[in-house]
């Protein structure tokens, strides 16, 4: 305690002290009672007790200003949430997963307290990944020049995660108003912090970062925590740079109710962490310095017990979420085109290349809506605009605030897109998720997280993001410049996935993606960027709705379902077959994988009775497996043969062109399979 600081046991007003004591007492009662709900099989099966973190959690909640700040608490932050304003009822509704849970109606795990309405964000269980979201929303705070800061809170062990380093690097580089709090209780479950990093104070690992202040405080002490957090906030506002606060805490109990800490902590330790109980210390101080009498404190404690009792009753009477509601809020309603309702046109003009279609659509949308942003690696440096120049000229026209490079950190690119779109619902973000789809894997945790934000928050937060990725092979690119990743991506509910094969569809789908709420995955067949085969006339205002396949060639004898690079091969094969024996091969270009145009597929299957599914990705566990299964399920009686598939072998894509040719599908392989099926 230092006398010249803002808060002090001798000088802080009695009302304030009382408020703190009430919040801490109520928090502690709830923290102590939470395990009872599990014992009685009511719920709250995940509870990570905060006892021992009381000082810093009180302080985080107290400096949070719901009018202008954004708070990202973690699973141990019950008191943080209470101090930020959540009521005992709201804590219990979340704890026992009731429909009234303001975080998201019992959809997310217990002890994940949130109130999106106040920007107390609903965060992942993936430890510390919300550091990226805090950085993203702080980017918006800075760009829109609004007051406020983003506060991210986590344990010290999860700082080991690579994305935390990416987040802090980004905040330091962009000089963003972020307050990172590390609540240090010495453990990550049972792992002592010495197994995480060489320094005992992980915050000091960041001493070499520029534009970053590092502060330490005693998280078990209310005054030191309040003062440090207030000073941290002042520093951010004055110096316009991020701060890390590492708060020393103790974990009085086990990590959570599935942990038994006596397996790895001896009696000496179990005893001293109790002795250092922050609430007991605060109480002693209030009495020692005669700010309150024993009777006054007893009365407050009684009142808080009564409040919690009432909240418990409300919790027990609260309704559960209904099983029918599970399909609500998987993804928001998309933008519905009103002119090109089926995503086709008869526009006649000079053909444009696919890359030009993308570039012009991006520019048109950026002119149309001032709240669109794009970033990624190499997207904007002088004449270079994207690794394939898709964003050429954009920074010149729209400026560095809206079009900018990102560090080589895909998780950061994706995670900050999620964060920035939390600022408001108007913002639309386009990211080049990676230079090649092959490099999107480092971003997967942020992607997965983003797919379920809308559902998890029960529609309270929609990440409005389009991820563009140059995908696929046929360029002699080898293992890391040839991948198609839709087989993995389409396993996640909460994202639309599109993969055009012609310039007009690329332009039309991109426009629809950017205008829609929700998450879109936009795969670009990079081998076709400049190909005359994919070039088409493109109406300036073209739009393609989601879930509308396009029949690129009609036929009566065989249906080929495809998308992306292989659409062109299928069309060649169909042409050849019709020239040879007059058989009619219908070629359906799916364009959008999620949502899927089941009607067009089924109508065609019913007509032809034979189906060949073709895609560039591996046959084994590729998206075609889902198509084949659905067709068999829904149209078995119309089939005159097995649903066959053509795609890559179950190998990586080799670099040598001979290997690449042996692995990827081509027109000859499609022709052979089509003939076999026609003859079946």
């Amino acid at each position: 305690m230092k006398k010249n600081r803002k808060y002090h046991i001798k000088t802080t007003g009695k009302k304030t002290l009382e408020k703190w004591f009430r919040l801490m007492t109520m928090g502690r009662i709830l923290d102590d009672r939470a395990p009872n709900y599990l014992k009685q099989a009511i719920g709250w099966s995940y509870h990570a007790p905060f006892a021992g973190h009381d000082g810093i959690q009180l302080a985080i909640g107290q400096i949070f200003d719901r009018e202008k700040d954004h708070l990202f608490p973690y699973y141990r932050d019950m008191l943080t949430a209470i101090s930020a304003g959540l009521t005992a009822e709201e804590i219990i509704y979340n704890g026992i997963s009731k429909d009234l849970d303001v975080a998201g109606g019992g959809r997310h795990m217990s002890n994940h307290f949130a109130k999106p309405e106040w920007n107390v964000h609903n965060v992942s269980s993936c430890t510390g990944n919300h550091t990226l979201h805090a950085v993203g929303v702080a980017r918006a705070i800075k760009k829109y020049k609004t007051p406020g800061i983003a506060i991210s809170s986590q344990g010290e062990s999860s700082v080991s995660e690579g994305y935390v380093y990416e987040a802090i690097n980004g905040a330091s580089n962009e000089k963003l108003p972020v307050l990172f709090v590390f609540q240090d209780n010495g453990y990550g479950i049972s792992v002592p912090k010495k197994d995480q990093t060489a320094r005992r104070k992980v915050a000091d690992n960041f001493t070499g970062f520029r534009n970053l202040k590092i502060m330490h405080c005693n998280g078990k002490d209310v005054f030191d925590s309040m003062n440090t957090m207030a000073e941290a906030r002042e520093h951010i506002e004055e110096h316009e740079e991020p701060v890390i606060v590492q708060a020393n805490c103790v974990r009085i109990h086990s990590h959570s109710n599935s942990d038994a800490h006596d397996l790895y902590r001896d009696d000496f330790e179990l005893n001293y962490v109790k002795e250092y109980d922050p609430l007991a210390k605060f109480r002693r101080l209030l009495l020692r310095y005669e700010r309150f009498t024993e009777e006054e404190l007893d009365a407050i404690e009684e009142k808080m017990k009564e409040m919690v009792r009432k909240a418990h009753k409300a919790g027990m009477a609260a309704p559960d979420p209904s099983p029918e509601s599970i399909h609500d809020f998987v993804i928001p309603e998309p933008y519905i085109p009103d002119k090109y309702t089926d995503g086709t046109h008869n526009y006649d003009a000079e053909s444009k290349k696919l890359i030009q279609g993308l570039n012009e659509t991006l520019k048109a949308e950026f002119r149309h809506n001032p709240d669109i942003y794009i970033w990624g690696q190499d997207v904007a440096h002088k004449e270079k605009g994207g690794i394939f120049n898709v964003t050429k000229g954009m920074q010149q026209e729209f400026g560095k605030e809206r079009v900018f490079n990102a560090p080589i950190a895909e998780d950061f690119i994706m995670g900050t897109a999620n964060g920035m779109s939390r600022f408001n619902d108007k913002i639309r973000i386009v990211v080049e998720g990676a230079e090649f789809a092959d490099y999107f894997w480092p971003a997967m945790e942020a992607f997965v997280e983003t797919t379920h934000d809308y559902w998890r928050s029960r529609g309270q937060f929609s990440p409005n993001i389009t991820i563009r990725l140059a995908s696929g092979g046929y360029i002699g690119g080898g293992l890391y410049h040839s991948q198609n990743i839709e087989g993995s991506i389409t396993t996640f509910p909460g994202v639309r996935v599109v993969y055009p094969s012609f310039a007009d569809d690329a332009a039309g789908l991109l426009r629809t993606c950017i205008r829609s709420r929700g998450l879109n995955f936009f795969m670009e067949p990079k081998a076709l960027y400049n190909s005359p085969k994919a070039a088409t006339p493109i109406p300036d205002d073209f739009e393609v709705p989601f879930g509308k396949a396009r029949i690129r060639r009609e036929g009566e004898d065989l249906t080929i379902i495809t998308y992306g690079n292989t659409t062109h091969m299928c069309l060649e094969a169909a042409l050849k077959i019709s020239g040879e024996d007059g058989s009619g091969v219908e070629v359906i270009d799916l364009r959008s994988l999620i949502p899927l145009d089941k009607e067009t597929i089924l109508a065609s299957v019913k007509k032809t009775g034979k189906v060949l599914v073709v895609h560039e990705d591996k046959v084994f566990s590729g998206f075609g497996a889902e198509l084949a299964a659905q067709i068999t399920d829904k149209a078995f009686e119309y089939l005159d043969g097995p649903v066959k598939r053509v795609g890559s072998t179950f190998t990586p894509v080799g670099f040598n062109r001979i290997l690449e040719g042996a692995i990827l599908p081509d027109t000859d392989k499609i022709l052979k399979a089509a003939r076999d099926l026609l003859e079946y």
Partner: protein, 169 residues
């Protein structure tokens, strides 16, 4: 030598042992009184002209609660004319980044309040990375490391007390 108070927490384990050893080292030459910092009142503290304050360091560089909770009272004191010697306990191997920091925190506070600090000792014989108790190559008191150099306690305490006998008034 005037009446000397040894102030520390009676609830501690190792700090108490060292306090006892110190008082024994004074033997007949001094009137030494043991005072429990957990219950101390400001008048009591101010009643001594010579003080020996003992603290361990806890939790990566923190002053233990028993001292920390007395600090708001200390801050209002005028310690001009007081001679204060501090002994600190720490673990140089387990906590090399914050060795004996608690001793440094007390030293800074007492000095700012006008006290004269006595009983500085050499840092020779200790190995650590950084210490809040270090002042120009010396410790601002006596450093005791029970965990890794317990066998040196006796010799260190005795030498320190001899020094204090000269430095106290």
């Amino acid at each position: 030598m005037k009446k000397t108070g040894i102030v520390f927490s009676f609830n501690t384990h190792k700090t108490s042992k060292i306090a006892k050893r110190i008082s024994e080292a004074f033997e007949d030459t001094a009137k030494v009184e043991m005072v429990n910092v957990e219950e101390i009142r400001p008048e009591q503290f101010l009643g001594y002209e010579n003080l020996i304050c003992g603290t361990a360091t806890w939790f990566d560089g923190e002053l233990p609660n028993h001292w920390d909770e007395f600090v708001p009272d200390l801050e209002d004191m005028d310690l001009k004319g007081k001679n204060i010697a501090i002994f600190g306990l720490g673990d140089q191997k387990g906590y090399p980044e914050n060795f004996l920091d608690g001793m440094g925190i007390l030293a800074e506070l007492f000095e700012a309040l006008g006290a004269r600090l006595v009983g500085f000792t050499s840092t020779e014989g200790y190995a650590y990375e950084s210490s809040g108790a270090e002042r120009g190559g010396q410790f601002c008191g006596l450093g005791i490391d029970y965990e890794t150099q317990g066998s040196k306690n006796k010799e260190r305490v005795n030498a320190w007390v001899e020094k204090l006998k000269l430095e106290f008034r």
